[in-house]
C-alpha cells in the first residue's frame, strides 16, 4: 500500500473529492465571517439547490444549463428572502445566538421534510449515470469529473478572492465583517454586505451540490451531514478566516483518505471528530500556521472566557 502510484492515486482522488467540501466550507465560513451567523440553514439551501436541478433535468427535461440557472435563481431567491424576512427581523430584535441557531437548524429540517414530501427518499443523482470518462496518467486514474471538480472549485475561489480584494463591494463586506457599526457610520450598508455574502454563499453551494450530485446519491437528509464537515473545517481553520477554512477542508479530506493506510476504513468518520477535539484543545483559535496577510482582519486579542458566549 505504500507504492507511490497508490499514494498519488489517493492524493489525486482525495483532492478532487474534497472540492465540494471546500465549496460548502467557504460558503459557511463566509457567512460566519460577514454576518457572524452560524448558518445551518445552508443545509436546507443545499437541498433546494440539488432538487431544483434534479427536477429540471429529470422531470421537466430541461437542458442542463437551464437546470443550473433555475437552481441558482431559486437558491439565491430563498437566501435573500430568508435574510430579509427572517434573519434581519431577528437581528433587529437583538435575538440571542440561541434563537438564530434554532431558526437556521429548524429551517433546514423544514426543507428536508418538504423535499421528502415532494421527492421521496430514494437516493438520486443529477444524471442517471454516475460514470465519467477516465484516462490513465502515469498509472493514476484521472476522470473527467475529477478535472471538472478541481477546475470549477479553483475558478470559483479565485473569483471570490478577486472580488474581495479588488472590488468595492468585496472590501465593504470585509469592513462590515470587521466592524459593522463603524462601517455604517462610513456609509457602508451592512444589509447590502449581508445580502452579497449570502448570494456568494448560495452560488458556492449550488456549485458544490452540483459536483456532489453528479457523483453520489442525494436524499433530503444528506445535506445535514455535508454541512457538518463544513462547520468543523470552519472551526479548525479559524473563525473569520475563509480561505484558511477552505484549505482545512482539503486537509481534512486528505487526512481521511490517507488514514486508510493506517486504520480500518470504518474508523475514517470518527477521525474527523477526533481531529476536531484535538484542534479545540490545542488550537482553539484555529491553526496558527495560517497567519494570513491583511486580506482578513487581525485576530482578536485573547478575550475573557465568556465574552463571546
Amino acid at each position: 500500500m505504500t507504492d507511490p502510484v497508490i499514494l498519488l492515486q489517493i492524493l489525486w482522488t482525495g483532492i478532487a473529492m474534497s472540492s465540494y467540501f471546500v465549496l460548502f466550507t467557504v460558503a459557511f465560513a463566509l457567512t460566519l465571517k460577514v454576518e457572524k451567523l452560524w448558518n445551518f440553514a445552508q443545509a436546507g439551501l443545499m437541498g433546494i439547490a440539488f432538487y431544483t436541478m434534479f427536477w429540471s433535468l429529470n422531470a421537466a427535461h430541461w437542458p442542463t444549463w437551464a437546470g443550473i440557472v433555475a437552481s441558482v435563481l431559486l437558491t439565491i431567491g430563498v437566501t435573500i428572502g430568508m435574510e430579509i424576512w427572517a434573519i434581519d427581523v431577528l437581528r433587529r430584535r437583538h435575538s440571542s445566538g440561541l434563537i438564530f441557531f434554532i431558526f437556521t437548524l429548524i429551517f433546514s429540517q423544514f426543507v428536508a421534510f418538504l423535499l421528502t414530501l415532494l421527492f421521496g427518499t430514494e437516493p438520486e443523482t443529477i444524471f442517471p449515470s454516475v460514470m465519467s470518462p477516465v484516462r490513465i496518467v502515469s498509472g493514476i486514474a484521472v476522470s473527467d469529473w475529477d478535472l471538472q471538480a478541481v477546475g470549477l472549485t479553483a475558478a470559483l475561489l479565485i473569483a471570490l478572492y478577486l472580488l474581495i480584494r479588488f472590488t468595492r463591494d468585496g472590501q465593504f463586506m470585509l469592513a462590515v465583517a470587521d466592524n459593522e457599526k463603524l462601517s455604517e457610520i462610513y456609509g457602508i450598508s451592512a444589509r447590502r454586505a449581508y445580502i452579497l455574502s449570502g448570494v456568494i454563499s448560495a452560488l458556492l453551494i449550488v456549485a458544490g451540490i452540483w459536483l456532489y450530485g453528479t457523483r453520489a446519491g442525494v436524499t433530503p437528509d444528506v445535506p445535514v451531514d455535508l454541512i457538518l464537515t463544513a462547520v468543523i473545517a470552519t472551526l479548525i481553520g479559524g473563525l473569520g478566516r475563509v480561505f484558511s477554512a477552505g484549505m482545512v477542508a482539503v486537509g481534512l479530506a486528505l487526512l481521511q483518505s490517507f488514514s486508510i493506510l493506517f486504520i480500518a476504513s470504518k474508523w475514517q468518520g470518527l477521525l474527523l471528530y477526533g481531529i476536531l477535539f484535538f484542534a479545540l484543545l490545542v488550537f482553539p483559535r484555529g491553526i496558527p500556521a495560517w497567519r494570513p496577510r491583511r486580506i482578513q482582519p487581525a485576530p482578536k486579542p485573547a478575550a475573557p472566557v465568556q465574552a463571546e458566549g
Binding site: M1, M131, A141, G217
Partner: protein, 380 residues
Amino acid sequence: MIEQLTRRLVLSAPAALWAGAAFAQQKEPFRFGALMPTTGPEAGYGLDFVKTYEMAVKDINDKGGVAGRPLEMIVLDTQAKPELAISGANKLIDVDKVAVVITAWSSVVKAVAPIANRTSVLELNMGANSPDIAHLGDYVYTVFPLAEVDVTALAKYTREKLGKSRAAVLYINNDTGIGGAKIYRDVFTAAGGQIVAFEAYDPKATDFTGVLLKARVGNPDVVHIHGLSELPQVIAQMRQLGMPQQITSYSAGYNPKLLAQLGAAAEGLIVTSLAPTAGTNPNVAKLLDLWKQVGRAPNGLPYLQYAWDSTVVVADLFAWVDKNKLPVTGENMRKALLEIKTFDLPMTGKLVVTNDHRVDKPVYLYVVKNGQFTLLDTIA
C-alpha cells in the same frame, strides 16, 4: 315443478353469491397487523410492500376470504425506526388486538421482538435478513430467508463453480453489511478460498478510493461488495480505477436502477435473488399486471413477491386455527405455523418453516449481460 325450482335456484344463485359476499363482509374479519415504513427514508420500499399486501388481501377476499371471513390488514408507520415500531406494535396488540404482526427492517424486527414475546403475539419477519433474527425469541419467526441463505450460496458458487480463490470483501458498515460480509468470508474460506481484503466503509462515504485500492493491493480475482444504495458508486469508482475483476453482490444489487447508473460498467456483475421471475412463475406475471395498473414499476420485485406470500401465509394460519376451532391468539397462530410447516406459496414457491426459526429457499443467480439481468444458475 323442477323447472320452477331450477329457475328459482338460477335466479337466487347470484343473490346467494351476493348475500354470501355481504354475509362475509358482515362476519368478523381476521385481522393482522403490518409495521412498515410508509414515510421516511425507506418509504420507497415500504409503500410498495403495503400496496402489495393490499393487492394480496383483496385477492384473497375476492376469492371468499378465509373460511368465509374477510381478511383485514392494519398498517402502521415505523419509518424503519425502533421507537415508532414499538409504539406501533403496542397499538396493534393492545388496541386492535391482532394475533400476528408482519414486520420488516432488522431494527424494527428486533425492537418489536420483546413485545411479541411478552404478549405472546406472533411476529413474522418478511424482509429483513439479519441472521440475529433467528435468535429473537419464541414468537419471532421469519418467512423470508435470512442472509446466510443467499450469501452462502453465492460464496460457494464463486469458489466452486467460478473457480475464484482470492476474494476481496467490501461492505457497508451497518447491520446488513457486517452480517453479510462475515457470512461470505466464513463460507468462502471454508470452501478453500482466501480472503485477501476485508474492508468496511462508512455508510455516508462517497469516496471509496481507499477501500478499493486496499482491495486491489491484495490482488483478488473476485470482489464481493455487500452494500446498499451506494453500490453503484462503489462499482463505478472501482471500474474507473481500472480494476477489471469480477464483481458480485447480494440481492440489493438486483435492481434495474443500478443498470441505468452504471451502463456498460455493470456488465458481468453477478447478483442473487431469492424469488423466481415471471418467466418461471406465471403468478409473478399476474403481480406485474396488477402493478401495471398502478402505473409504474414496483421497487424491489422479489421482496414484493415475499410480501404477497406472507399474506397468504397469514391467511393459511387463520384458516388452520379456524378449522381446529381454536381461539385466534398469538399462541395458536404460532402453533399453526409449526404444524403446517410447509407452505405452497404462489409467488415464491415452497416455504418450509423450521424449528430453528429459519427458512430455506432456492437462490437464483443473475448476471448482467448486454445491459440486462440474465439468469445464471439456480441453487436449491
